[in-house]
């Protein structure tokens, strides 16, 4: 059972709500955090989420489709920053992932969460995790 945290921009809200119906059948325990825009997801939030979960997904809009113009660019850059930082902490960079959602967001989100969960299953437990949520 993977315990994931997913930050979703408001543009993916519909997908998020649909996800609630099938997340459990997939065997995933996902904590959804809705933010106004992917650009609101800070590095510190991703790291703090890693302290209490096995992996973190940040999901935003595709390139050139951000309602706030560059929020998706910022979010992707912050995910990349954390992925670069994790090896310095002796943790696996695969624990953090970025996903671009389009009009078919629910399907892509399902796939992104599934990919993350599968990737994590090969890594074993998050050794940096300090507590269960």
């Amino acid at each position: 059972m993977s315990e994931l945290t997913a930050f979703l921009c408001a543009g993916t809200a519909a997908a998020h709500r649909r996800l609630g119906e099938w997340a459990r059948p997939l065997g995933m325990d996902v904590r959804m955090v809705e933010v106004p825009c992917g650009g609101k997801v800070e590095v510190v939030q991703i790291l703090r989420a890693l302290l209490v979960s096995e992996g973190v997904l940040v999901a935003g809009c595709p390139a050139d489709a951000c309602r706030h113009l560059t929020g998706n660019v910022r979010a992707r850059a912050r995910v990349a920053y954390v992925q670069g930082l994790l090896p310095q902490l002796r943790l696996e960079p695969q624990r953090v992932a970025w996903a671009e959602l389009g009009p078919d967001g629910a399907i892509k989100l399902e796939r992104a969460l599934g990919d993350l969960a599968e990737s994590l299953s090969g890594l074993g437990p998050n050794r940096g995790r300090v507590s269960a949520r």
Binding site: L47, R48, L51, L89, R90, G128, R129
Partner: protein, 222 residues
């Protein structure tokens, strides 16, 4: 502003290895503006250190505190209220901030979390460049407001060297030739005659060559 950058996390982890609880101190002035040591960076580093130490099996308790300025004793005093049980202090201030904290809390190890880099400006978001070398004897009046000491790779005072080509420095193609910039600025201002003036040698004793510097103003003393 003073510009710095965080040391590699591995270096910080090595410094903190003997400790189980530390105070992580941020500074709300220069290093906040250059995104190296403000409240946000304190939060990021604290979370990163917790993750790394948990993964090592040696959990680290990190108390976070960001004060207005680490280089003034009245602000540094505020850290006392958060020091209970802390075995060391990790400062995300500049070198002056680290030393002010170390002076006030002399019974604790105080570690630098940043490398203090230079006095500079943000040329664009996420990109800072050196502008002042704190030489103690400013000559910007004669160089069109462009400092050849800080911005010329060789700190030349008498025009460009032979390595200047097409406005760029031979040390790096990313670096503008400071003397080209000075010439262009003064030409645009119709003040090129400044470059023809003969000036006495610069007094480097007012720079680091004269030893640690100090300014005393009796009118400002209490």
């Amino acid at each position: 502003m003073i510009v710095g950058e965080r040391k590699p996390v591995e270096s910080i982890l090595a410094m903190l290895a003997p400790h189980g609880k530390v105070l992580l101190a941020g500074c709300g002035t220069c290093v906040t503006v250059c995104l190296a040591g403000g409240e946000k960076e304190v939060g990021v580093l604290a979370a990163a250190l917790r993750l790394a130490r948990q993964a090592e099996g040696k959990p680290l308790e990190v108390v976070e505190a960001t004060i207005e300025r680490q280089c003034e004793h009245e602000f540094v005093e505020e850290l006392a209220a958060k020091l209970a049980g802390a075995e060391a202090i990790l400062s995300l201030g500049c070198g002056a901030g680290v030393q002010t904290i170390a002076e006030r809390y002399a019974d604790l190890p105080v570690y630098p979390g940043l490398n203090t880099s230079f006095i500079g400006i943000p040329v664009k978001h996420g990109d800072w460049a050196e502008r002042c070398a704190a030489c103690g004897d400013c000559i910007l009046d004669s160089t069109g407001g462009i400092c050849p000491i800080a911005r010329c790779s060789k700190s030349l005072l008498n025009g460009p060297c032979g390595g200047s080509a097409e406005g760029k420095c031979e040390v790096s193609e990313d670096t503008d030739c400071a003397w080209q910039l000075i010439f262009d600025r003064l030409k645009a201002q119709r003040r090129l005659e400044l470059l023809a003036e003969v000036r006495p040698p610069k007094d480097w004793s007012r720079h680091r060559d004269g030893g640690p510097r100090r300014i005393v103003r009796e009118d400002a003393a209490l």
